[in-house]
Every structure is written in C-alpha cells, then in structure tokens.
C-alpha cells in the first residue's frame, strides 16, 4: 500500500464513490461519516445524509465527529427528528444507499454483528444490529466496510443480523419480503467485493493498489469469484485525501491503529 494514504483512507474513498449525486444516504457509524463528506464535497454535491438518531444533512459537519450525535452534526442540519421518522423514509424506499459496519460477512453478503458461536453461549458477543438490520432490509442498496480477514469473510455466517442475499438463491430477498435490493459491495482493507445486480454471490470487483488477487483469496473464507473486469481499486485522489484529512484532522478514524 502506498505511503501516500492509509488503508482506511482508501476505504473511505472507495466507499465515497459508491454514493451517486442526488442520493439520499443512510450513514452508519465511523468511516461512512467520512465517506459521505468526501462524496458530498467532490462528485456528489447534491447527496444528502440521513442519520438514524434523527438527522438529515446536505453537507458534512463543520468540525470533527466522534459520533453522528456530536453537536457539530446537529448544527446546520436540515431536520432534527426521531429515529422512527428517519426510518419512515427508508421503509418507504427513499434511501438510495445505506452503509453498515460489519464484523463478519459471508459470500452472500449476510452480515453478523451479533453472536460468534451459539447465541445461547457465544464465543464472542458483538454489539448487535443498531440500525444495521433496518438498512439491510429497507435501503435500496447497501455497502459494508470491514477489515479483510479469513475470520471475517466466511463461507456462511452463523447468525444473520443484517440479511444480504440469504442462501444466495435467485429471488431470496423478494421471497422473504425484504424491500431493498440488498448489498451492492463489501469494501475491505484489501479489495472491493461486489454483487451481481440480481443478488447472489460476492465476486472480486477490484483489488487495492499493491494487493495481489491471491492475497485477497487467502484472506477470504470461501473460493472467491474474480470478475473479468477486476482491476486495481483507484487510489484516493488528491482532492479526496484532502477532504478526508479535513474531516478527520487528527486521524482518529483513518490513521490510528485500532
């Protein structure tokens, strides 16, 4: 990886490029906050951000955010309301793109942020859904960001907190009544995995600069399909990096080891 940027900065830039101009984006915790800000200030000037605690914005906050509830995110917002009102927009299909933080994901894009091992006596208790399940079920498409490790990208998650394409069979989401189109991409520390528009199984969409396909495969818990167009993930542009560093001046999200 380049000296010019960190893996987190590359992930933020890649996530930002998933946002289209004019999108209503349901912004999750952490890196997606930065991704929205970068997109809004570069290629998507008309993208709006909806936050589950009850905020709507048309521009990033004027100061650093440790959480979406920090006061700079409230000042200058377009709508300060309750969770159920922001969820109403998503339940009606108005949210074009959602971001969900992932702990464990499988080849069909199902996310587990609840229990590793048996829910009755898990090896690891994760914090839970938050708004993740809501985004996964109700937003038009969604993207998750996570560290690329074999224990995180697994063949099948043992517990589905936020459903992706279920068992991968065609029409699984529609059959189960899920409203949105499901996961569109998994942005990791090594690569961007994508899903076919009709759902199904993740494939390797692009590898990050300096990363080998074999390295991605070794860090993935299933045999990964590689798309014909698989190329290098574009590096963050100078403008994107400037935006990231303006939004995260201390490197809280993008430079500290976590």
């Amino acid at each position: 990886m380049s000296e010019r940027f960190t893996a987190q900065e590359l992930m933020v830039a890649a996530a930002a490029r998933e946002i289209r101009d004019g999108d209503l984006v349901f912004v999750g915790m952490r890196l997606p906050v930065l991704a929205y800000g970068v997109a809004r200030n570069t290629h998507a000037p008309n993208a709006r951000a909806l936050f589950e605690l009850g905020l709507l914005r048309d521009r990033p906050a004027d100061a650093f955010l440790g959480t979406m509830g920090d006061p700079p995110n409230v000042a200058g917002s377009l709508w300060a309301t309750g969770t159920s009102s922001t969820m109403a927009l998503m339940a009606q299909g108005d949210v074009n793109l959602g971001f969900i933080g992932g702990a464990e994901v499988d080849r069909f894009g199902n996310l587990n942020t609840s229990y590793i091992g048996s829910p009755a006596r898990p090896q690891l208790k994760l914090p839970g859904s938050g708004g993740g399940a809501d985004i996964a079920i109700l937003s038009q498409r969604w993207v998750t960001l996570m560290s690329h490790e074999p224990r995180r990208l697994v063949e099948r998650v043992s517990y589905v907190t936020s459903p992706g394409h279920g068992d991968g069979s065609p029409g699984w989401r529609r059959r189960h009544g899920l409203l949105g189109g499901g996961p569109a991409a998994i942005v990791t520390t090594l690569a961007v995995l994508r899903f076919p528009p009709q759902g199904g199984e993740a494939y390797l969409g692009s590898v990050h600069p300096g990363v080998e396909v074999a390295q991605v495969q070794a860090a993935t818990g299933w045999r990964l399909e590689v798309s014909e167009e698989c190329a290098a993930t574009p590096e963050p542009s100078r403008e994107e990096l400037a935006q990231i560093r303006r939004l995260d001046p201390g490197g809280f999200w993008t430079r500290r080891s976590r």
Binding site: L53, P71, G82, T83, S84, G128, G130
Partner: protein, 292 residues
C-alpha cells in the same frame, strides 16, 4: 430533588428503565452512575444504542435483562462487560432481547399507544427474530411486541421545577420512550423559570403528567455530548474501552469514576472541563406565539 433521591424513590430493583434514548447524545450517565452507587439490581435496560452506559451498568452487576439494538462503545467498538456477561455469565447471567433501532422504536410506540404490537417489514430475514416471542413473523410482517418501561430517564437542556422541559437536537427514540414509560425522570443542564419553558410549548417533549422528578444536574450527560452545552469526551470513552477490556480493569475504572465519586459534581471536578464545554452560542430564531 437530588439525583440520589430521585433514583432512590423512582427506580426500584427490577425496574424496566429506558435510558440513552437519543442514541449518542444526551445519555443520562449521571443517573446511571447513581444506579450503580445505590447497588440497584435486576434492572431491565431498554434503549436503542447505548454508548457505554449499559455496558457499565452490566459490569456493575445492576442488570438482569437488556432490550436493545446495540450495546457497545460507539467510537471504540465492543462493550466488554456486555461480552463477559453474555459469554461467561460474569458478573452474572444476562437475558438479551435483541432489536434493531427501528424495531425498538416501534416497540415503544406500540406501548405508548397501548397497542399489542406494530407489524413492520423490518427484521424480515434476520435471525434477530429467532426464538423471540415478542418478534413474531405473521402474514409476511414482523409483529414487534410492545415494550413498556417503568421509568424513562432523559437528560435535557433545560427544565422547570414543575416538570416541563425543552429538548432540542436529534431525539432518537426519546419521544416514544417517554410516552410509553409509566414515569419519567429528567436531569437537566439548566433549571429555569416556568416562563422560559412556557414560551415555547412545541419544544416540550414529555407531558408533565409523566414527570416524577426534575434534577438539576449540569454535565449529567458527560462523557456523551449535548448540543449547546457539551462536546463528547472522546478520551473518556477511549479510557473506558481500554480499562474495561478486563474485569479487573473495569473494577478499577468503576472505583475511580463511580464508586469513589459521591456525585456528579465530584465527577466533574475530576475533569478538565474547559475543552469539553461549548461556549460559542448558536441561537435559534425565535418563534412567535402571539395571539392578539
């Protein structure tokens, strides 16, 4: 009324308590710490995302059940006391009723309206449904059963002694939690004259008929933020994350920041407050309630 008195009188052992209802801001940490000091037991905690407060109460042994969408530390990650309780029953066994943010909101709205449940498309296809009687899949919708708190604790910007308060900023599930609760305890940054509150009834979230206690408790939300008053104390969340990784470390944190601290004033005295205090005002345009 002091916070100690309010907690003593209105939050008995076994109570179902809604806290942290605005998600990341305005979390009533002072009230939570008082629950720990008074050794409250068998609480049922209700909330959407608890930014460390639920983890602290769990670690202190106050909690029998959690009804929540997320329990952890928003900027830092896992809730280590929550993990230990679920993974190995330390300090003791915890019943977990998982929700999403939307479903916990609907559960509270159902209780507020005395509806048995609200059907919704959310949670379809999620394992959150499995084994939970209060989340039932019927006719292609998920029926989210009503969740009724005995008490809802809110930290607000300003209140009067009569139980009327102004809140502003994002509300999370605070409105439905307060309406659903049998009673509401308010902690506030400023205790003001009734005229201030009555000048703007549209900013009142909770009917005074629900409010059983108003406690003047400046900084009662710290380390969580509050628009117009406090920035988030990121360092406190980071320190808590680091220490609470082990039960022993959590014990040290608990003694230093809760047990050895008699009240919120003493907590604040331990902090460097100036960097946390919001001083530059950004005042809203007034609304005109004239009638003649």
């Amino acid at each position: 009324m002091s916070l100690a008195q309010a907690v003593e009188r209105f939050v008995p052992d076994g109570a179902a308590v809604a806290m942290g209802c605005c998600l990341e801001p305005a979390i009533p940490f002072a009230a939570g710490h008082e629950l720990i000091r008074q050794q409250r037991r068998d609480l049922k905690l209700i909330g959407p995302i608890s930014d460390s407060l639920f983890d602290q109460l769990i670690g202190a042994g106050c909690v029998a059940e959690v009804v929540a969408a997320w329990v952890g530390n928003v900027s830092e990650g896992l809730g280590h006391c929550y993990r230990r309780a679920v993974e190995s029953g330390d300090p003791w066994t915890l019943t977990v009723r998982d929700h999403s943010n939307f479903s916990i909101s609907l559960a509270l709205w159902a209780a507020a309206w005395n509806s048995p449940y609200i059907p919704t498309p959310t949670l379809l296809g999620s394992d959150i449904l499995s084994g939970q009687a209060a989340l039932e899949l019927v006719d292609g919708s998920v029926r989210v059963g009503a969740v009724r708190p005995d008490v809802c604790v809110l930290h607000v910007q300003r209140a009067d002694a009569g139980g009327r308060a102004h809140t502003w900023g994002p509300l999370g599930v605070a409105q439905e939690a307060a309406l659903a609760a049998q009673r509401v305890i308010l902690t506030c940054e400023q205790l003001v004259e009734p005229e201030v509150i009555l000048s703007d009834p549209s900013r009142v979230l909770v009917p005074e008929t629900k409010v059983v206690a108003v406690v003047h408790e400046p900084g009662g939300c710290l380390p969580s933020p509050l628009p117009g008053y406090w920035k988030r104390d990121h360092a406190a969340f980071r320190e808590y994350a680091a220490l609470s990784r082990t039960a022993e470390g959590f014990g040290r944190w608990l003694r230093e920041w809760v047990l050895d601290v008699p009240d919120r004033a003493a907590y604040l005295a331990k902090l460097e407050l100036d960097p946390l205090r919001i001083t530059r005002r950004l005042l809203s345009e007034p609304a005109d309630y004239g009638y003649e």
